[in-house]
């Protein structure tokens, strides 16, 4: 076989591999489809919304009708328009928090796992300190101390995730670091960055990704809980969690104002978890 053929016929193109994992898993396929639809709604929802999210269009708490499919909320906004608009903040803040958390926790885990010794011990004890606080309490203390804002929300959710991420990444890295192929690279004098890129990251990716799926779902819930408790996004913004807080009082009058965002939030977290689970299980086979 010639060299060019070889590169052309390299196994494991990501999309094919991804599709193969869902073969014969009905629950996974349904979840994947739902998640894709949901993400479409989240991203493109505002473009198709019939009304503006903060536009007062009718009498508060009026039921579903031809012009307002999901009725109106406590101020008379169109619920459908708000729901179409309110997913972006949920997903965006969770993603932002995850990215921050992986930036900090992932690097800490890689360094601790690869270096070991005193560096490892110091970093991990630091993580244990963060881990000692209950997440919600930590976020509330943070909000009452510094004041509630979206930046604090993102930072808080990230902070809560940092120790867990650091531990998972450290454990996976430490295991890979003892493998002979890493030692062979060290003996050849390869630099830390190439070793991380070629030998460590590709081989811990599956473990870390499996953890990331569940973590993302939990982060969405955590961010939503914070918003529900009033830390983070301020009420007029159309966020699913904020909508649930706002419309609590009208549950019996106009249940859709609360149920619509609640159902979407539940579907989002469940589908993310199921898809993550399918991807992980395949790795374990």
């Amino acid at each position: 076989m010639s060299v060019t053929e070889a590169t052309a016929a390299r196994p494991g193109r990501p999309l094919t591999a991804f599709r193969r994992r869902f073969e014969g898993r009905r629950a996974g396929q349904v979840a994947c489809l739902l998640l894709a639809l949901l993400l479409l709604v989240v991203v493109f929802g505002p473009l198709v919304a019939p009304y503006g999210a903060s536009e007062i269009v009718g009498i508060p708490y009026s039921g579903p009708s031809g012009s307002h499919w999901l009725g109106t909320d406590y101020l008379g906004h169109d619920v459908l328009s708000r729901v179409l608009d309110g997913g972006r903040s949920v997903v965006a803040y969770a993603l932002l928090a995850m990215a921050t958390a992986y930036g900090v926790g992932g690097v800490a885990g890689l360094v601790a796992g690869l270096r070991g010794g005193l560096v490892d011990a110091t970093l991990m004890r630091l993580m244990d300190v963060i881990l000692a606080f209950p997440p919600i309490l930590l976020l509330l203390v943070l909000a009452s101390g510094v004041g509630g804002s979206t930046a604090i929300l993102v930072a808080g959710v990230a902070l809560v995730n940092v120790p867990g991420i650091a531990r998972v990444v450290r454990a996976a890295t430490a295991e890979v670091a003892t493998r002979s192929y890493v030692e062979a690279a060290v003996a050849r004098g390869a630099g830390t960055v190439p070793i991380l890129r070629h030998d460590v990251l590709p081989n811990i990716a599956a473990t870390v990704a499996a953890d990331a799926g569940t973590r993302f779902a939990i982060s969405i819930l955590l961010a939503a809980s914070m918003n529900f408790l009033g830390v983070g996004i301020e009420p007029p913004s159309p966020d699913w969690a904020v909508m649930m807080t706002e419309n609590r009082s009208g549950l019996t009058l106009q249940p859709w104002a609360l149920l619509a965002p609640a159902l979407l939030l539940a579907t989002l977290t469940v589908t993310v978890s199921v898809v993550a689970d399918v991807l992980t299980r395949e790795e374990e086979r």
């Binding site: 076989m1 060299v3 070889a6 016929a9 390299r10 196994p11 493998r179 002979s180 192929y181 030692e183 062979a184 060290v186 003996a187 050849r188 004098g189 390869a190 190439p194 070629h198 030998d199 590709p202 081989n203």
Partner: protein, 591 residues
């Protein structure tokens, strides 16, 4: 039961995997009282499956699908789980491979025996427990009975496992690789113990092992398994002297022997996977005598001589084993390539001394073997030379230039000239890289001429190197998961040799391989050594391997050099007591 009645009789046994493929097929095996039958085979041959079937047991998912297993005349197959429980341990017992994980860490030594005895309705008082321990030469006193399994040495744990197997005086004991993982001296003692128990109590033993040399000293009869079938069996001495099956002959030719050093000949190819076994004789694809008949149908069991049985159409044509002498090598020219002086390494703040003032020199073109048991410091020394471990003191010099402690402190040229191959082939290669990528990478990092040619040039060079280590062409673009242990090790050797090093460190590179594959890898290494003028530092615990490949040997014990000299001299006439003990304990066919 009289001594001449069969203690264990297995006939027509079939065990199937969950998918329906037969793990073992048509197994016929008889163990008489006071007889040790060795069941020998390489990994995946089905020997453990057979051994477990002797207790009416099949591993998770597998099932016994036919045949008969009789223990002291009583049929086990078809018995209910409750009845089987009464038979196991009482009439037929099992000694597992790894006693460390077979013993309950939360149970004292005495309680292990007491529980077993009581489960079979026997008195479990102290006197009985003491007697059971003393039978296998363990101390029977109270203090020992109150110890926990983790407080015993590996050899003691194995003796306890044997004591447990013998406590209820069964007719037959199945011992599954009971000495694998023990050092040779302990192994020799356990083997003596098994032999003594056979003579003293009329016990029948089915002794499962991958090591033909180890069982040769104790077995009355040997059964050789290949790909799920017993391909040959007979009295030990006869079978070893005149093998009828080409596979047995191949095994003998691959077996390193320190008493009779000779050229090793591996068996080409690898055992077929369970779901890809060929239709006819499973050995046909690797057999030099294979004919169309072999590929068409599995040969039936025939008896070429009294008490011999073989499954081969060409049993009569199988030539007797012919041992070739080792090739003569020109003496090394004397210029030292590697010099190690006063090397000191300790761990845990000086508590464990892994190397204590170790010094040696390695001449260009020479092969020096570092020999020792586990914990002797041989791997630590190799890691220091490779730049993976910084020594506490001493000096390592390559061609006169002192080397920095860590690889990163050495020059690129120094790193290129010295390469290492590791012990565990399954962890040696990055699972995400194909064979050819793995071999091409060092060229980009260390290569001299190829760096200019870019990726295409390095891939071409890697391809040539893979050909040199005789990796089948179609596997060059496979990832490690698709390769066998021997193939992985060939790729690891190619990865080391592709940058044209002068010194190759081999850290137990064959210890995880089957003996026929080991021989093939050693054969390859010997050839490459001549071809490329390599200097080898070869770390191993196996004196047979030393005799087959090394020029000089350095014996290590607890971090210190005990003895050093030419292989012939050290192995034939060891001067130090420790070396003498090692040499005496090492398994060999010629004893």
């Amino acid at each position: 039961m009289s001594a001449d009645a069969a203690a264990l009789e297995i006939a027509g046994l079939v065990v199937r995997a969950p998918g329906g493929a037969a793990i073992v097929e048509q197994v016929e095996l008889t163990v008489r009282g006071a007889e040790i039958v060795a069941l020998v085979g390489e990994s995946g041959s089905g020997k453990t499956t057979c051994g477990l079937a002797a207790l009416g047991f099949a591993r998770d998912g597998a099932r016994i699908d036919g045949g008969s297993v009789r223990v002291a005349g009583r049929e086990l197959l078809g018995l209910g789980e409750r009845e089987l429980r009464g038979v196991r341990g009482r009439h037929v017992s099992y000694v597992p491979q790894n006693p460390g994980s077979a013993l309950n860490p939360a149970m004292r030594v005495g309680d292990h025996l007491r529980e077993l005895l009581r489960a079979h309705g026997r008195a479990g008082d102290d006197a009985v427990v003491q007697a059971a321990l003393e039978r296998v030469h363990l101390p029977g006193e109270r203090a020992f009975r109150r110890r926990w399994p983790h407080q015993l040495s590996g050899g003691q744990q194995q003796r306890l496992a044997i004591a447990l197997a013998l406590a209820c005086e069964p007719a037959v004991a199945v011992m599954d690789e009971p000495t694998t993982g023990l050092d040779v001296v302990t192994q020799a003692r356990i083997l003596d113990e098994v032999r003594r128990l056979r003579d003293a109590s009329g016990l029948g033993v089915l002794y499962i092992s991958h090591d033909l040399a180890a069982v040769a000293s104790i077995a009355d009869r040997i059964a050789v398994m290949y790909a799920g079938r017993v391909v040959e069996q007979g009295p030990a001495a006869e079978l070893l002297a005149r093998p009828c099956h080409p596979y047995t002959r191949g095994l003998l030719a691959s077996l390193p022997d320190h008493r009779e050093p000779r050229r090793l000949r591996g068996i080409g190819g690898a055992v077929a996977a369970l779901d890809a076994r060929p239709a006819g004789c499973a050995f046909a694809p690797r057999c030099p005598l294979a004919s169309d008949a072999c590929r068409a149908q599995a040969p039936p069991l025939t008896s070429p001589a009294a008490d011999r049985a073989v499954r081969c159409f060409h049993a009569a044509q199988t030539p007797p084993p012919a041992f070739e002498p080792l090739p003569q090598r020109a003496a090394a020219d004397g210029a030292a390539l590697l010099a190690v002086r006063d090397l000191r390494v300790s761990f845990g703040g000086g508590d464990v001394v892994a190397a204590d003032d170790v010094g040696f020199a390695l001449a260009r073109g020479e092969c020096l073997a570092l020999v020792g048991e586990s914990g002797s410091g041989k791997t630590t020394i190799a890691r220091c030379v490779a730049g993976l471990q910084r020594p506490d003191g001493g000096e390592i010099a390559l061609a006169g230039e002192p080397l920095a402690g860590f690889a990163r402190g050495r020059t690129r040229e120094q790193r290129r000239r010295l390469q290492i191959v590791f012990q565990n082939p399954y962890q040696s290669l990055n699972p995400r890289e194909t064979a050819i990528e793995a071999v091409a990478r060092p060229l980009r990092e260390l290569g001299r001429d190829h760096a200019a040619g870019g990726r295409a040039a390095s891939l071409r060079a890697a391809e040539q190197m893979l050909e040199r280590v005789q990796l089948p062409r179609r596997l060059a673009h496979s990832r490690p998961a698709a390769l066998s242990g021997g193939e992985l090790q060939r790729v690891a050797i190619a990865r080391a040799l592709v940058v044209e090093p002068e010194l190759l460190l081999c850290d137990e590179i064959t210890s995880a391989l089957d003996v026929s594959v080991q021989a093939a890898v050693l054969e390859l290494l010997g050839g490459l050594r001549d071809e490329l003028g390599l200097t080898l530092l070869f770390i191993t615990h196996d004196l047979g391997v030393v005799a087959a490949i090394a020029d000089r040997v350095l014996v290590l014990q607890r971090g210190s050099v005990v003895e050093t000299g030419p292989v012939g001299q050290v192995v034939r006439a060891p001067a130090q007591p420790y070396t003498q003990e090692l040499v005496a304990a090492a398994p060999s066919l010629s004893r």
